[in-house]
Subunit: 139 residues, 6 copies
Amino acid sequence: MVYITRRERFCAAHKLYREDWPAEKNLEIFGKCSNPNWHGHNYDLYVTVKSKPDPETGFVVDYRIMSEIITEKIIDKVDHRNLNLDVDFMKGIMTSTENLAIAIWKELEEPFRQMGVVLYSVRIQETENNSVEYFGQPS
Amino acid sequence: MVYITRRERFCAAHKLYREDWPAEKNLEIFGKCSNPNWHGHNYDLYVTVKSKPDPETGFVVDYRIMSEIITEKIIDKVDHRNLNLDVDFMKGIMTSTENLAIAIWKELEEPFRQMGVVLYSVRIQETENNSVEYFGQPS
Amino acid sequence: MVYITRRERFCAAHKLYREDWPAEKNLEIFGKCSNPNWHGHNYDLYVTVKSKPDPETGFVVDYRIMSEIITEKIIDKVDHRNLNLDVDFMKGIMTSTENLAIAIWKELEEPFRQMGVVLYSVRIQETENNSVEYFGQPS
Amino acid sequence: MVYITRRERFCAAHKLYREDWPAEKNLEIFGKCSNPNWHGHNYDLYVTVKSKPDPETGFVVDYRIMSEIITEKIIDKVDHRNLNLDVDFMKGIMTSTENLAIAIWKELEEPFRQMGVVLYSVRIQETENNSVEYFGQPS
Amino acid sequence: MVYITRRERFCAAHKLYREDWPAEKNLEIFGKCSNPNWHGHNYDLYVTVKSKPDPETGFVVDYRIMSEIITEKIIDKVDHRNLNLDVDFMKGIMTSTENLAIAIWKELEEPFRQMGVVLYSVRIQETENNSVEYFGQPS
Amino acid sequence: MVYITRRERFCAAHKLYREDWPAEKNLEIFGKCSNPNWHGHNYDLYVTVKSKPDPETGFVVDYRIMSEIITEKIIDKVDHRNLNLDVDFMKGIMTSTENLAIAIWKELEEPFRQMGVVLYSVRIQETENNSVEYFGQPS
């Protein structure tokens, strides 16, 4: 098995805010991330898949194809968007980086399976100090 | 003269959108940056000042003091905020990185002069591919 | 399970030197790291914990709390200090990056357990070429 | 067990091209990587080994020795070379990053075993967006 | 005046080799860069232009347009190519990074002038240790 | 004129402390940098020289020669050393990054002049947030 990782980037606005909580509680729990007028990030998304390399090409999967899948399924929907308002696969979900990684996993698992490779990990670098990684559920 | 540079970071939402233009023109001119629901960035702000080092300390200016000035005058006002809605010194100004650099220069020039050093440059790295630098107006 | 990683940084002096060895042997085994007058590094410390995200907040653990724990237990004790002389949890231990990672693990394991999350890994980047990672002992 | 990682760098030319395929098929499958006149990269090679630290030195293995092994077995053979034409351990192998990682693993596994440590992973960063990691075959 | 910088990246093969010198002299002067079978790099190209921001948009020049010009005039000609063999504007020129920066300047100066901005600098980062910057000729 | 920059790295211990001041004043002025038992950094040193490229080689100066000069004059004296105790050209000088940049300039100016190039700038990156640049004295 060889593991290959493709990085794609997106810039998005979001906030951490529960409408069923008063503003004070949102501020207490989520701090400055609860700013009602939003804030945003440059997100780095690292997607890792694994497979045996194809004996003819030496590829696990062509990086171009990997990039196309991630771009079509994720980047086109989140880049220069609002994660709370504009993204179908985040509807009704708190936009923590943890939840974002899980949601992106769900979007990517099946398309990569159809390519003949296994999705191994989704990692999101939100700032240079903070990152999240998700490996799916044990089967 | 020695030049010292302090980096501070902030995460903010913004959009490029003129209310006096129809949505179509905003989309044509500003592309995906015109998304009505905002997007955002991790901004890296590099501030450079120059002076002769103090003979007793060897400092142009203490990095801690430099950080405090930038934090008080800029970071506290822009971090986890919306550049279009929440920032007093950007009121009525298009939030392009160019204009942001000029506005930050205006906020910082006088406080550093009072510290006995000369503001030399304000540089903003908006993404890993895009950055802006402003050196003030020739006197 | 979702894994989140927080980076904190510290700058410290240290040397690799055994008092029970003659200077020549220290130089032979530890090379320039044995300089009697010390040397130092900017260390990047990456701490990873794992847990199910909280359904209300979407957090494994708030990055701010994670940062506070690492700062209180580690950074306040090692930043701008001498790892051989100033750090209680390194007393009597060779200050190799390997031993430092193990020692930091021991300091952090219990505080994170009390937060309801499991410490997964401690990684230290000592230079851009050299890093160490420790995952604890198999239970 | 502690894991230590050493990075070494090399700059090399290569192309992805099968002589048993017509030029059109090479272009279709390998895209711009099939340019007959070659292209090249700055490759970052990360080698990770694991072991218990030596109680006398606190080392899994001295970084200098780790660097010497990687340099002798790999870097001296690939740096400022052509991966398709100049490298003995890539003879007859498609120079995909996947195959390169597997081939480097095979060169390094035995030398590190003789040092008393276990090779854990070979990771190659080919561009800032693309990387490959290989962990060997399950025994 | 505000200065904006756009980074574009390309991967290319090249060698430093004079056909009018014997192989020994090429090796002596150019070292491993003279390898007859080529080597290669990931080049980072930073292009800086300056102008007053447009009062309507706040732009010196739209990054997208800046990227299109650099891509059409430079990247499409050098990416995944051989700088010695495949690039029209490097024909008959030693492919040192210094000469490459000068040649790229000549290709970009006029197109940016037509956009109403002034080319200020061309910087090429060849490896993490080596870079070159060219500011044109004093007029 | 073309400007080329070479980066070299060193790891060193130091402290900011005046023996003619009481410990309290050192702590007040220099903060945690005054720790009597030292601290340390990974310093990145960027040296820029300028010249017309040699018409035969296309070089301002060979990077290998540039590296040898910087290594012999600076790195061999500061790497894995104590800047206050071990470095001849810092004797009696406060080891602020400002003073270090000026002192390194003085060591490098003449050797580069003898190489036929002009030293343009010495830049030291002390942490990812703090850096200093020195351009010499106007002649």
